[in-house]
């Protein structure tokens, strides 16, 4: 994600260089939005789940909103839109990214995988199958993000032990508290992998 300009950085610039965390949530940042000229849509060509797509998005649109609102892929969830919950995790060129902090317009030519593209046809990805088998979910809202993170961290080789899994999964909040089963599912999937 390092080479991408994130939406957060753009917002910081838009707010006159003020660090976002200091910007009042009401009023000031909205006022700066309004004082900007209305930006026009930009075309972005990217591959999503193996399919080439060209989306016409507002320059300010996050990858998350582009996927959900422009590409109609609503499996990726919005929990905070601030990079703090992990619900929007997708793979970008094989690495996990927080799609709410990634600008869609900077994804030109990129390869994106979302939860809808993880299974191989009817064949669930081993992490998906393990989440079902170990009941690693309750409400299911955090689940797409959990699974995308888990699939990536196994590939990255960060699923060596339970503490390691817990550490590397700590960017994905599960408020239902399904953590014990999430960890068990990842442990199981990583052994099979």
């Amino acid at each position: 994600m390092d080479e991408l300009i994130t939406r957060r950085e753009v917002m910081v610039v838009a707010a006159g260089g003020m660090a976002l965390s200091q910007a009042p949530a009401h009023g000031a940042d909205r006022a700066s939005d309004a004082s900007e000229k209305q930006t026009s849509d930009v075309p972005v060509s990217l591959r999503v789940n193996g399919r080439a797509l060209t989306l016409h998005v507002d320059q300010r649109t996050s990858l998350l909103d582009a996927l959900r609102e422009y590409a109609g892929l609503t499996g990726t969830k919005k929990g905070c839109d601030r990079g703090a919950c992990g619900a929007c995790t997708v793979h970008l060129d094989g690495r996990r990214v927080i799609s709410c902090l990634t600008l869609a317009s900077r994804c030109q030519g990129k390869d994106i995988t979302t939860i809808e593209g993880l299974a191989n046809g009817d064949q669930l990805h081993p992490v998906q199958a393990a989440f079902i088998e170990h009941d690693g979910l309750q409400c299911g809202y955090c689940t797409p993000g959990q699974i995308m993170s888990a699939a990536a961290l196994i590939k990255e080789g960060h699923a060596g032990s339970d503490p390691e899994i817990r550490e590397w999964m700590s960017g994905n909040i599960c408020r239902c508290g399904a953590y014990p089963n999430i960890i068990a599912a990842i442990r199981h999937a990583s052994r099979g992998a």
Partner: protein
Amino acid sequence: MNYIDFSLKVVGTRPIRPDGVDKVTGRAVFAADTRASGMLWGKILRSPHAHANIVSIDTTKAAALKGVFAVVTGQDFPEIASEEAFVGEGPMNFRDLSLNCMARTKVLYEGHALAAVAASTQEIADQALALIDVTYEVLPHVIDVEEAMAPGAPVLHADMFTAGVTPKPETASNISKVVTFKKGDIDAGFAEAEVIVEGRYTTQPVHQAYIEPHACLATYAPDGQVQIHSSSQGHFMIRAYVAKLLGMSISNIRVNPAEIGGGFGGKTLVYLEPVAVTLSKKSGRSVKMQMTREDVFRASGPTSGAAMTVKIGAKKDGTIVAAQQVLKFQAGAFAGSPIGPGCMCGFAMYDLPNVDVVGYDVVSNRPKVAAYRAPGAPITSFAVESLMDELAIKLGIDALTLREKNAAKNGTKTHYGPVHQNIGFTAVLDAVKAHPHWKSPLKEGHGRGLATGFWFNIGGESSAQVHVNEDGTVTAATGSPDIGGSRASIGMMVAEVLGVPATTVRTIVADTASIGFTFLTGGSRVTFATGMAATQAAEKVVEDLKRRAAQTWDIPVDAVEWKDGAAYPAGSNAGAFEPLDLAALALKAGRTGGPILAEVSINAQGAGPGFGAHICDVSVDKETGHVKIERYTAIQDVGKAIHPSYVEGQIQGGAAQGIGWALSEEYIYNSKGLMENAGFLDYRVPVASDMPMIEAVLVEVPNPRHPFGARGVGEVPIVPPMAAIANAIRSATGLRMPDLPMSPPKVRAALDAAG
């Protein structure tokens, strides 16, 4: 019928989650995942002030922005008369709820809605909000509960005169009501006591923090028909509130329940739906709305924070003779904290002769509280169970023995009136005693805490249908949104009655026009009440199937028996016929009376109260003040676990939320009354690396009022954790932490102060 002593084939097993594949593949449809053609995005303008008069709102520029289709303010909403609402969970007033959804003349907290726009994109909607000019007259504000009660505090509502005191006060205040519960003679009780302990405790408001922010999609058609898709714990609740708040008739509103991404009590009110419908009416388009995370924190209800004092008197042998509690609960900007349950639950675990409890419901410039898992009980129990620990220490009695000695049993009269019946508290305490965790020696440097908890659990109105489809498969439909696996548990109960595998039954949540009225999902009522309705509907289907078999065979109905999913002739006298299973009977349905289905609507009574006890080991880092949970065991009487994995999941989830409440979660306000941590970066909920393994131990004392013995399970587990952890910290360090959260800076400060 009652199946408690039957050998069961489906109930008590662990089939895989029926909604699993949808949820791991991204197919599950949550409220924000729905769209409509020509749909607009609705967004809300929220108050930047804690307390202010709205002098003027100018929406001209916003309305003129290209892509904006509607702008609404308080003027677009009807005036609602003050009236108690019995629609959601916990106390609410229709007028207050209307004002909470859209302020009229005054904003009462940061984040209070005061205008809304509908535009073709989210970006344009945000721009439009910034173009609305509002002139405020900022008023003094008050955040803290005791400051709000003090004379001279800024008064939020000029017409709030404390209820429950005589004579009726003549000046308005922030105390909406005072409630009292008395049993025996408290003065005589304390006079008799040989040991008295006292303590003062505070808790902070914490948010349910479901990962799915509130969302809905609403369409108002020109003929006045309204369709709403929304994420809530009760689509009938949404229907009732929208009808009342917008002056519509219920028959014109149809609410479709979306998959719900967590609620925990917080989705038992309306915030967006009346606004979305109003925007849709004005724009002539469908309108989708979704709160931001900041909105969820600032403008949807957390649970109360509280200031409490407790005093307990006992004999030297540990027999408690007097118990007294004063509770001050924050309600948020409008009346209606869970002060009632707060007053009832603290001492409900014990058999006490003399009790005196006084509770205050107090408004201040904070978001209106909403229900959160066992509303009120975790707060009051933190205080009582912390002080019970002090009492045990002072008496030199083991914490478990003290509780055993005073435990409520069947026949114990509670201080709030009812007599406990069919409770399993003693069985829970026995399970604590027998558990390896309780018996294990404490590791060097660790501390161990024990705390117990109680929740009433409720029944109420539920409807369920069971359909035998043309191919012999079964659809069970209910009106209860599934927040804890109830589709699975209901389907399993239906399958058990029909004698078919769990996979034969598919359970769905039907919309408000497709099933009878069903009270919302809350109070741990669904597996109990809706499960009871579904069980009865399945029994009616079995009776009908027997009748159809009898008709087919031309024998009396009594000569037919139903077992293992098929009709058999009952004994050789009945005749020799091949059994007729569901598929065979479904095939003949046209000739035996038409489609096979039964619907049952009930008002379920007899919900079994729930009791739990948690054991917690901690270590405390003396340098940083960081508390680490080393081992955690949650023991609970669940009546009968229909799907044990989901019951364990509820217990682990409730405990996890309790651990967050205990150690890290809180609303932080600055001097202007603005929340400083309205996001997951600064409002810290537990993540994977914070969590210990939580062992859930299921104790099963069947509830005879439910066909399978079930009692509610989802709320009790959030009650004990705060005191269990505080007691463990006391054990590890000798320090009593009376104020939540027991965050590293606070623990360190306490350690430093103790030298």
